[in-house]
């Protein structure tokens, strides 16, 4: 699960994490007691119409601004380690 979440966990973090998550999952399991067969899942809490805006092109962030907060940049792009070192 940690790998799926792209999280490294050290050996001493795994045991407390598992214990705490088990307690929370036990609490969450109480929603299993309800009869919800004919209930529609919520998609949005407030009824609304007209969420679409006109599809008009507008300027986006200039490249140097978009790159200005990155830990590493090179050749006008984000610099990252190789996928296969």
């Amino acid at each position: 699960m940690a790998r799926l979440a792209r999280l490294a966990l050290s050996e001493d973090e795994i045991e407390p994490m598992a214990r705490e998550l088990s307690a929370v999952l036990d609490h969450i399991a109480t929603i299993g007691e309800l009869d919800l067969d004919d209930v529609a899942p919520t998609s949005h809490v407030v009824e609304m119409t007209g969420a679409l805006r006109a599809d008009e092109p507008r300027p986006s962030l200039p490249r140097e601004v978009a790159l200005s907060q990155a830990p590493a940049v090179s050749d006008n792009g984000f610099l990252v380690p190789s996928p296969q070192a």
């Binding site: 050290s10 929370v24 919800l36 990252v80």
Partner: protein, 479 residues
Amino acid sequence: MSATNVLDLSASDAAAAIADGSLSSTELFEAYRARADGDRSAGDDGLNCFTWVASEAPPADSPGTLGGVPLAVKDLFCTEGVPSQSGSRILEGYEPPYTATAVSRLTDAGATLLAKTNQDEFAMGSSNENSGYGPVRNPWDRGRVPGGSSGGSAAAVAAGLAPWALGTDTGGSIRQPAALCGIVGLKPTYGSVSRYGMIAFASSLDQAGPLTRDVRDAALLFGQMTGRDDRDATSLQFPHAIELPTAERLDGVTLGVPDELTGEGIEAGVLESFRASLALAQELGASVREVRLPHAPHALAAYYVLAPAEASSNLARFDGVRYGMRTPDAEDLLDMYTSTRHDGFGAEVKRRIMLGTYALSSGYYDAYYGRAQRVRTKIADDFRAAFAEVDFIVTPTAPTIAFKLGEKTADPLSMYLNDFCTVPMSLAGIPAISIPSGLSDGLPVGLQIAGPAFSENKLLDAAHALETAIGFDGSSARV
């Protein structure tokens, strides 16, 4: 006006004094800036409310509706060129190239940016102990928590270090700290304030709102925040203008008391204050009756599926590539992602990401996320049915008064139970306000009033009438 007088003014009164020329906006800003700066440089002797404080007053120009009154803003609102880290070390050094719509609407209306406030990391917490900047202390008792996640905003307003502040509420993060600090906090109808530029936690629940000394200030600030924003497709045009509340009576108003949120698990002193508020409401002309919210006891379980699920998706963007910190010397790309996220996120954020990833994983989606969305429908139906019978639903805001620092950090579930009374309204997307109802053991207790979607004007009026009758005195928390 003398410096102490200036700081005693409510934000509305300060705006009026600036408008009639009896107070200079620069003088007011400098008075607050000096206090905020003092807290920031006091270290362990201060409250640790702020993550950034303005270094100078902005140039005085047209005051606008908000009259040049300084505003403290929760760290998670992006503010151009000003550090915005959502309380997290993973965004170390991040200075956004743009400003959140909620903030720019307020500065356009004349508010001036005084400071950014401390918070639980990515707004995940009920005590402000999960911050990458260290915990905030409660100005009523420095050994206790201010609540969370908008703990810095609540403590700053209660302590008189800021006239008012902006916070966000996902499951109670405006209302619960407002209650624990003895101030007013409003969570508006979902969609009434744009989420553009708010560093996201759980997008279907996150909503910005005011933390203020009184209900009138909350109405004044909220009224300038609302409106449709093309940059947030879930934002709505509020159907009417927000008016300043004037009501002093509650004649013809029916308050509903749900047994599910006013009994088991609520501390005796909190219940006593709650019942005293109900008696006062009746003296003001309100009728009080029981209502049922049969699915409300399941709200917390549904919330702790939905909010972590959305968080695990929203927080995938923090990977050491585009902003913030990166753990050096990674072996390869995957190692860079996982080690940056290990070093940059705190323990609670990791727990929620794990929980959300699990709830959304193949084979578990229907049992967790799908089921929780159905519970959410039932909770919204419960409120709809209740509001056919009553105007507002009232509960205590939090089950206890402010607890001691460190008291609940070892047991995440006991921390989550703080949101027991506030989460149902969040899931239903309806507005709710917390006002101080009195003291228990010398610490503030909050009264929560919730209404149907877009009922903010009536809600603020009812809160104003009750606030006036309660006559809460928060002055002993001012530092």
